[in-house]
Amino acid sequence: MTGTNLWDQQASNRRKSALLVAGFVLFFAWDGFGGDLAFWLATKDLPPREYHHTIPWLGLLITSLAGGMVWFAWAKGPDRVLWAAGAREVVEPRGLEEQQLVNVGEEMAISARLPKPRIWIVPDPDPNAFATGIDAAHSHIAVTEGLLHALERDELQGVVAHEFAHIRNLDIRLMTLLAAIVGAVALMSDGLGRFFRGGGRISGGGSSRSEGKGGNPLALIVLVLWIITLILAPIVTRLLAMAVSRKREYLADATGAELTRNPGALASALQKLDAHAAPTRAIAKGAAHLCIVDPLERRINDREGALANFLGSHPPISQRITRLNGMAYMFAKKEG
């Protein structure tokens, strides 16, 4: 049963990752070629001696830029996420806690039948953890120092197992691409807006008279559409990042509990994570959806209902604990 279920999850994540990338490239293509279209419509009726926008160099440039960014997100996304959190890799474990973390990672790799991911520590006193990577062979698990201090061995095992669940069902690919793309869209939207305002002024100088004569209504419509997408894109991507991770956390909790065969330990780990209400400062906003508990401690995540489902990045911790305790009860009953 878990087999087909896992396969479904992986297929869904592959599909959504591809859709995300396609949407991203299309958005930039529209940004570029849409701008070209507006330019072309605005200049095509001008007298022959004025500038005519016939080569869509804006579209070509921006679309290839988007392609470059997708490549970058794919190849370097995990590195950037870890870098942004200030994580350091545990190569030679120092001290008992790091040794424990490495051992637990190896145990879960055997249990999940996956290659060993690279293990990182984020210097932050608030307990939290996340996984990133493109697939199981190129995966990373990062935990904060606070997590290492706060949790017992079996609780740490539960958290690491939860992260392994994200790795195995390829959540990490979608989440990491999303983190990279949310950042890129915000940046590009800013930059393009500035470029457009600057560009408008330059062309306005030469052709203000002809535009005043009548202009081209079509050009105006395209222009307005174009600006609206520019404004909406960062909001849409941010909402996407939030909405996408909520159900995943329940799934990863359940899979993690199956890997350790100890749902109670993850439940008590979540309880401790919840008790530390301070935000995890080291983790940037763009990577919040990657974490086991919301690093920003947003109130919306404590709620249920359609709005919270849409806006929240994580389900309420109390709900997750209840479900895990239910699993623990089932396990106990099965063992007799």
Binding site: Q99, Q100, N103, E107, M108, I110, S111
Partner: protein, 190 residues
């Protein structure tokens, strides 16, 4: 026409035999590999125990019996052959280690000794890895056994020299709960 049909049936049959044979061989190799994964961890545990005994020898002079039980269980486990015998010997070793750490609880010197804590962590990790590797092994061995007994694959089983693989069974009820070696040495329960 008749010979043509006969020929086609023959080819299909040959293709099916090749497929079934290869599937059995692939599974057999997975079983062997699964066993190796357990074996690596067992060897590691065997190597850790002399270190542990040497570290605590001075402090736990009074507990010769406990120490000797661990050493003899370890030696038995090292010399065990075959899955059934190994499983039994390793189960006994796990039991001896549990008793050892329970006794060690009474020695404050040991509880604060970094070397002992380190070794205990290593042993706990190894014990857990053995448990998870055992589960993985049993899963693939069960698949292998089922496939070679099912009709019609069982007709090819002899050709592939497939014999049912032994499962690693947990003998006594006490050992079922063993993987929890952690007695709260590291941190006091919050």
């Amino acid at each position: 026409m008749g010979t043509m049909l006969f020929f086609i049936v023959l080819v299909v049959l040959a293709l099916w035999i090749i497929g079934a044979y290869n599937r059995l061989i692939a599974l057999k190799n997975q079983v062997v590999n699964g066993w190796k994964q357990i074996d690596v961890q067992l060897k590691r545990r065997h190597d850790l125990i002399p270190n542990l005994v040497n570290t605590v020898k001075g402090t736990m002079n009074f507990e010769r019996e406990t120490l000797e039980a661990v050493i003899s269980a370890r030696n038995k486990a090292v010399n065990a052959t075959g899955i059934k015998e190994t499983a039994a010997a390793e189960g006994a070793l796990s039991g001896a280690l549990t008793r050892f750490f329970a006794v060690a609880e009474a020695y404050p010197d040991l509880k604060s000794n970094q070397n002992v804590l380190q070794l205990q962590e290593e042993l706990t990790g190894t014990e857990n890895k053995i448990g998870f590797a055992r589960q993985a092994y049993n899963d693939v061995a069960t698949t292998y056994n089922t496939v070679q007994m099912q009709f019609p694959t069982n007709l090819v089983a002899g050709l592939a020299k497939a014999v049912p693989a032994d499962l690693w069974e947990i003998e006594d009820a006490a050992e079922r709960n063993v993987p929890k070696v952690d007695l709260g040495f590291g941190k006091s329960p919050a």
